[in-house]
Structure formats: structure tokens, C-alpha cells
């Protein structure tokens, strides 16, 4: 079942509308599946598992690259790179550390940065892509609650509760790859306001995740 997306329209300068999706995660079962598919790739070089992940995520990866300004053809080429990295580095995916979507986000971000900064050719590009490697996750605060598997579903719902203007700066930064200054310029608001909104948004997320954690511990 696809994720439910509620679009929130925000007024952009010049009268254009910016759609900021508020994701609600109802894909918990698929998520457990993602980890199993990644294990199948890592341990058995399972092509059918790869094909399923490709169909589920490659279109989202492309949408991300296009939102960051990649032309459609370049985005198609980079999607191939990202998914080949998923195949080659599958053993480094650690489901305890984050969702597959998060892992894919960081890989597609790094692939695009390598492409933009170094304009290097395909094979070389693959070698220098930084892939998040497994690291111990200490438990005990709200950030950990965001990372722990149980917290991930709450995180999506929590993001959806943020005030519109805070959601928009997060969206501009994370989805479109804008700097704080670019957010400020495009929205016609002071840089300090953008920074404040980011801090408030992240503070609010931590606070809400902390609450979540408190309740689930009872």
C-alpha cells in the first residue's frame, strides 16, 4: 500500500506554489521487508530482491535528484549509479541504524554532490561515493528515539505536525538541497528567520520524539 501523502500548499514568492508533502508512514510491513531484501542481496546476490527494491525506490531517488536540479537525463544516469551502489554495498546497510529510505537519501545526495563537484565519470564516481557505514547507536535520548526502529513511524507523524513554515524550510533544505541563504532569498525572509525556523523545527521534533519515547517506555 503506498504511503499517504498530504500536500500542504505554501505561497512562494512570485505567486508560484510550493508543494510540501507531509508523509505519513503506513508502510511498516514493507519496511521490515526492506531489511530482508537487503540481506538477500548482501548474502546471496539475490537479483529478484534487487529488482523489487529498484521498483520501490528508484522512482523516489529520481524525484529527489530532479528536485535538486538535475536534468531528467542526468537524474536517470545517477539513479543507475545509486542503485548499483545499493547492490555493491548492501552489506554495509544496517537496519538498526535507519530505514532504507534514509540510506538511499544519503547515497543519492553523495552521488549528486560528486557529480556536481567533480564531474567524474561513472566508475570513478562509484568508488568515491561515501556510503554510511554501520556505527554503534547509543540509546538514551530523543535522537536515538528517531533512529530506533520503533521511533521511525512516529517520526513521520511527528514531522507532519510541524508548523507549515518550519516544514517548508526543512523541505527546501532536505528535498531541494538549498542552503539557509538560498531559502532566505527565495522566500524573501531574513537569514536569521530561516535559521530560527530550522532550530525550532528540530527542537520540536526532539521534544515530540522524547514524549513518544517516554510513553512507549511505560
Amino acid at each position: 500500500m503506498p504511503g499517504v501523502i498530504i500536500y500542504l500548499a505554501a505561497r512562494a514568492p512570485g505567486g508560484g506554489r510550493v508543494s510540501v508533502p507531509r508523509g505519513v508512514d503506513d508502510r511498516a510491513e514493507e519496511r521490515a521487508d526492506d531489511a530482508a531484501l537487503m540481506t538477500a542481496i548482501a548474502e546471496r546476490a539475490d537479483r529478484a530482491a534487487f529488482a523489487r527494491l529498484f521498483q520501490a525506490y528508484a522512482p523516489k531517488v529520481k524525484a529527489h535528484l530532479v528536485a535538486r536540479g538535475a536534468a531528467s537525463g542526468v537524474a536517470d544516469e545517477l539513479v543507475q549509479d545509486v542503485m548499483l551502489v545499493v547492490w555493491r554495498k548492501a552489506a554495509l546497510f544496517d537496519a538498526a541504524r535507519g530505514s532504507l529510505a534514509t540510506w538511499l537519501y544519503t547515497i543519492s545526495r553523495n552521488c549528486l554532490l560528486n557529480h556536481v563537484r567533480h564531474d567524474v565519470r561513472l566508475e570513478r564516481r562509484l568508488d568515491i561515493v561515501d556510503v554510511p557505514e554501520p556505527a554503534p547507536v547509543a540509546l538514551g535520548d530523543s535522537e536515538d528515539a528517531m533512529l530506533a526502529a520503533a521511533g521511525r513511524r512516529k517520526l513521520a507523524a511527528t514531522i507532519a505536525k510541524l508548523p507549515a513554515e518550519q516544514l517548508e524550510v526543512l523541505h527546501r533544505a532536505y528535498w531541494r538541497g538549498q542552503t539557509m541563504q538560498e531559502c532566505a532569498d527565495e522566500q524573501g525572509i531574513p537569514l536569521g528567520t530561516v535559521k530560527t525556523r530550522v532550530r525550532l523545527a528540530l527542537g520540536r521534533l526532539r521534544e515530540l520524539m522524547q514524549d513518544t519515547r517516554g510513553r512507549s517506555d511505560e
Partner: protein, 227 residues
């Protein structure tokens, strides 16, 4: 001792979004590599980003994209044969500084000098090459070794400055920056620093604008450093 000086949320958001400039990103990555707190904070921000990716409807792929991808798997090594990317070793003269992996990678890619170069008395440096096309043509990225007790006279900055300490400590205005600590300054932030007594302070110093010395001694030192 865990780091005491961290990356603020807005800078960490820019970094995790991949929007930070390459020089700034290198400094922040070095801090994050040495700071368990910021490492978890960064992962949490990436989880927010991953959530956005997941919530999006996808874009239409080029025809035959899956077949193309499956075809490329034939030429790729088997997943179980691909280990984590190797980290280059530090040059011998830097071996004692326990440099974090992001810096080792940047140094490895930039063919660093074989030894320190003296900038001014008490200050030695090695340049780290950062791709000048990465939107920061004036950036200087250097690993600097400050002799204990040496002072950096009062100065302002033409652009953002990031410092991450690896050994020893830098002191300014009663604050102490030791291993893993990051100092982020911008234009209009005037400060004077001093390397603490004890061992030499080795730090990554990233400036995206020119230093603007505000004292005669500072101007003299800067003139000397450019000879």
C-alpha cells in the same frame, strides 16, 4: 574527553542536506567523526530527510531502467566481495594526530606535501586540496600545527571560518577548544586565539574568505606568511 563545542542545528541541517560548501562540509564531517553526540544528531536529521524521500511520489524513470540496472550487475563485483571503502593512511609527519577519516580521505585525494611548511614562527601548515570548482574559489583548507603558547592576533574574517582541533588545544576568551571541538566564525566575528601550553595544537583550519588582521603584529605576520 568528549567534545564540548558542537555544530549548531542550522549548520548541521545544511551539512546533512548536502548544501554546505565543500570546505565547510569537510570541517563539519571531521567534528561529526569525533563527536558521538553530533554523529547521532546528524543521523537523526538524515532520518528526517529519509522520511521525506519515502513520502514522495516517484518520478517516471527512463524506459528500460530496471533492465539496464540488472545488466550492470553482471559487471559489478558480488556484494559480499565489496568491503567498506579503504581509508588512506596519514602521511608520516601527521601520524600522531589521529586524524578523522574524512580528513584522511581528503588528504589522500590531494597528494599532500611530505612535511610541514613553516608559515610564520611557531605556525606550520600543510595544504589540503579542495576542488576549486566547488563554489569556494578563495577557500584555504589547511592542517595547521601551532606551537604551544603561540598567539593568533585579533582578526576578522572575510567569510566563514571552521576550525576543528585534533591535538592540544586552542584558547579564546576563556573558552578552550580541544580534540574534536569545532569553532565556527563568520564575518564580523573578531577574535584572538592562543595555543594552550602542553603539546602542539594540530587543527584543521578552513577559511572561505581572507583573514583580516586588526593589529599591526597581525598584519606583519600575514605579510610574512605570504612570502
Amino acid at each position: 574527553m568528549t567534545p564540548q563545542h558542537h555544530v549548531p542545528d542550522d549548520a548541521l541541517a545544511e551539512f546533512t542536506a548536502g548544501a554546505a560548501s565543500e570546505p565547510a562540509a569537510l570541517a563539519i564531517a571531521c567534528h561529526v567523526a569525533l563527536c558521538a553526540t553530533c554523529s547521532v544528531r546528524a543521523q537523526a536529521l538524515e532520518a528526517v530527510a529519509g522520511n521525506m524521500l519515502d513520502a514522495q511520489a516517484g518520478a517516471e524513470l527512463a524506459p528500460g531502467a530496471l533492465e539496464l540496472a540488472l545488466g550492470r550487475l553482471d559487471a559489478a563485483p558480488e556484494p559480499k566481495d565489496v568491503a567498506a571503502a579503504p581509508v588512506p593512511a596519514a602521511p608520516a609527519f601527521l601520524a600522531g594526530a589521529a586524524l578523522p577519516r574524512p580528513l584522511l580521505r581528503a588528504l589522500g585525494a590531494s597528494k599532500p606535501a611530505a612535511d610541514w611548511r613553516t608559515v610564520v614562527p611557531g605556525v606550520r601548515a600543510v595544504d589540503v586540496a579542495i576542488d576549486a570548482s566547488a563554489g569556494a574559489p578563495d577557500a584555504t583548507v589547511r592542517v595547521i600545527s601551532f606551537k604551544p603558547g603561540v598567539t593568533i592576533p585579533l582578526h576578522d574574517h572575510g567569510g566563514p571560518e571552521h576550525i576543528v582541533v585534533f591535538t592540544g588545544a586552542l584558547e579564546e576568551e576563556g573558552r578552550r577548544f580541544a580534540r574534536g571541538d569545532i569553532s565556527i566564525r563568520g564575518s564580523g566575528d573578531r577574535h584572538q586565539q592562543r595555543a594552550a601550553a602542553g603539546e602542539p595544537c594540530i587543527a584543521l583550519v578552513v577559511n572561505e574568505g581572507k583573514l583580516q588582521p586588526l593589529t599591526l603584529r597581525g598584519r606583519l605576520l600575514l605579510a610574512l606568511s605570504r612570502q
